[in-house]
């Protein structure tokens, strides 16, 4: 899907969402309940990770079942220095991006020599190895994880110890991330990536060394995801290997696909669906029968299956229903 130009009504829907997100802090302050800020912050950070995965998965056709590893790397890039009382934000975030990029370069060189289901399995295997690796390092908490007490310190530039400030940093990062993906997708580089997704043999035949371009795309995507991981570490204050489990990677894939692969806003919608459907469905079930909310996975699973069966193009595709295609 090349629906990269933001034309109404899609544009207006996303603009409205952005405004809504921007208003979350004042609203939560007004109703004096920080729960909504928490959820919104988690949503925004997961959305950045989903946006990064969409770059290689939705646009590039590379189904990575190990992307959560970069969230973990990014989070530990904040956690491990903090463990040694180093809270310099510039350093932490630089490590988050740098380590993610380096790891992606090495693992990408191995994984991208395979395709299809082998690629899926190898990306998953690589992320599981990172997972087990961190589990075994007792020094950084191992299985129990690492708690950090100070958020990243950026000096006088920005004070992340304030939840609202952190939230706006995350939100701004999301907007920038989407914009970066937008530019990349429409650029020459993006054309090669999308062409390789559509017909890799043909692209090679035309003269493109698709392996190199896919590798570059993979590294970019991983770096963005590592950045999201660093934000997540700051947000939750608790970093554990569980963040990189294959089920987390599965959840990211869920967000991208449910939201609509190959669309700019889809991953954001997917992240929202992932986080918000739970409380919504629980509320509905509870209203029908006390105690029924425990089984919210039943309507959730059914919604998922129906979305796959009937919604081509995911949630973002829904936004096309109003116009004739």
């Amino acid at each position: 899907m090349n629906l990269v130009s933001l034309s109404a009504p899609r544009f207006w829907v996303y603009l409205a969402l952005l405004v809504l997100f921007a208003l979350v802090p004042p609203i939560t302050q007004w109703i004096d309940n920080s729960y909504y800020l928490d959820i919104a912050n988690r949503l925004v950070v997961l959305a950045i990770a989903a946006v990064s995965l969409n770059l290689i998965l939705g646009y590039g056709g590379m189904i990575s079942f190990g992307h959560a590893a970069y969230i973990g790397i990014g989070a530990y890039a904040v956690g491990i220095p903090a463990h040694y009382d180093i809270d310099n934000g510039f350093l932490q975030f630089a490590i988050a991006i740098g380590a993610s990029a380096a790891f992606a370069l090495v693992s990408g060189m191995i994984c991208l020599r395979t395709r299809g289901v082998n690629f899926i399995m190898i990306t998953m295997a690589v992320s599981m190895m990172v997972f087990y690796g961190f589990v075994s390092i007792e020094e950084y908490g191992g299985d129990d994880g690492l708690t950090i007490y100070y958020r990243s310190n950026f000096g006088s530039l920005i004070d992340l110890s304030d939840d609202v400030t952190l939230y706006y940093l995350c939100l701004a990062s999301l907007v920038v991330a989407v914009f970066i993906v937008y530019r990349i997708i429409n650029s020459r580089f993006g054309m090669v990536i999308q062409g390789a997704k559509g017909n890799e043999a043909r692209m090679q035949s035309l003269g493109f060394n698709t392996y190199r371009y896919k590798l570059a795309c993979y590294v970019i995507s991983a770096s963005m995801c590592g950045f999201a991981g660093a934000l997540m570490g700051n947000d939750t204050g608790f970093i554990s290997p569980e963040m990189m489990d294959w089920t987390r990677s599965g959840e990211l894939i869920f967000m991208v696909v449910f939201g609509g692969t190959g669309s700019l806003g889809g991953p954001v919608l997917g992240a929202g669906a992932f986080l918000l459907l739970e409380p919504v469905l629980e509320g509905l079930l509870n209203a029908i029968k006390e105690g029924a909310e425990v089984y919210w996975h039943i309507p959730f699973g059914i919604i998922l299956i129906c979305a796959v069966l009937f919604l081509r193009g995911g949630l973002d595709g829904l936004l096309d229903w109003r116009r004739k295609r």
């Binding site: 054309m191 090679q204 035949s205």
Partner: protein
Amino acid sequence: MAGVILEVTDLYKSFGGVAATDHVSLDVREGEVHAIIGPNGAGKTTLISQLSGSLRPDGGRVVFRGTDITRMPPHKRALGGLARSFQITSIVHEMTIRDNVALSVQAHAGHSYRFWGNARKAKKLTEPAMEALAQVGLAEKAGELARNVSHGEHRQLEIAMALAANPTLLLLDEPMAGMGPEESVRMVEILSGLKGSKSMLLIEHDMDAVFSLADRITVLVYGKVIATGTPDEIRANDDVRKAYLGDEDG
């Protein structure tokens, strides 16, 4: 005589003991249209695939403009001036006609590690693309999604993509496959328009097209070359008659 730009020597490729390409030797001269004909299963596409690089030969040599490209990966051959069109249409269905051809232009316009500028607005890419589309008569459909146009138009797109690369040698694998009579006539016009300015190695089944376009013809049967020569020589050749054209008039 014009120089030789492609020289194939003793090329050999077998699949599970069956030789699909059985010690094939041929050459293509600059500016000529060299056609390859042969019955189904003769190994024509296998041969072209080894020339374009998507298949590795088991033995033999391919030399293009003086360079041994036998083991060169496909993208390097393309960058060296070799362009190929596919028998079974191989395009990017999710993109527009123009996008597909622009990709071909882009491959030869330096590296593509450009992340910022909008590729669809780059005149350096779109103008040559539109030229190639005009050459094959597909300019009005430039904005259509590739998956939405007809089979014949897909074949034209294949040629446009090959042309847009400004190649030294065109490898055309059954450009007229699946085309109706009018579309075939139009394709022959397009190809004869290119005669002389572009060297071509052309696989085709359509005998009218072959005999009107080709400067030389090579006949391939069961992976072996049984004859190479001018159209007249081939028409008169007994072996060819028996193996391929049958005993009726060729």
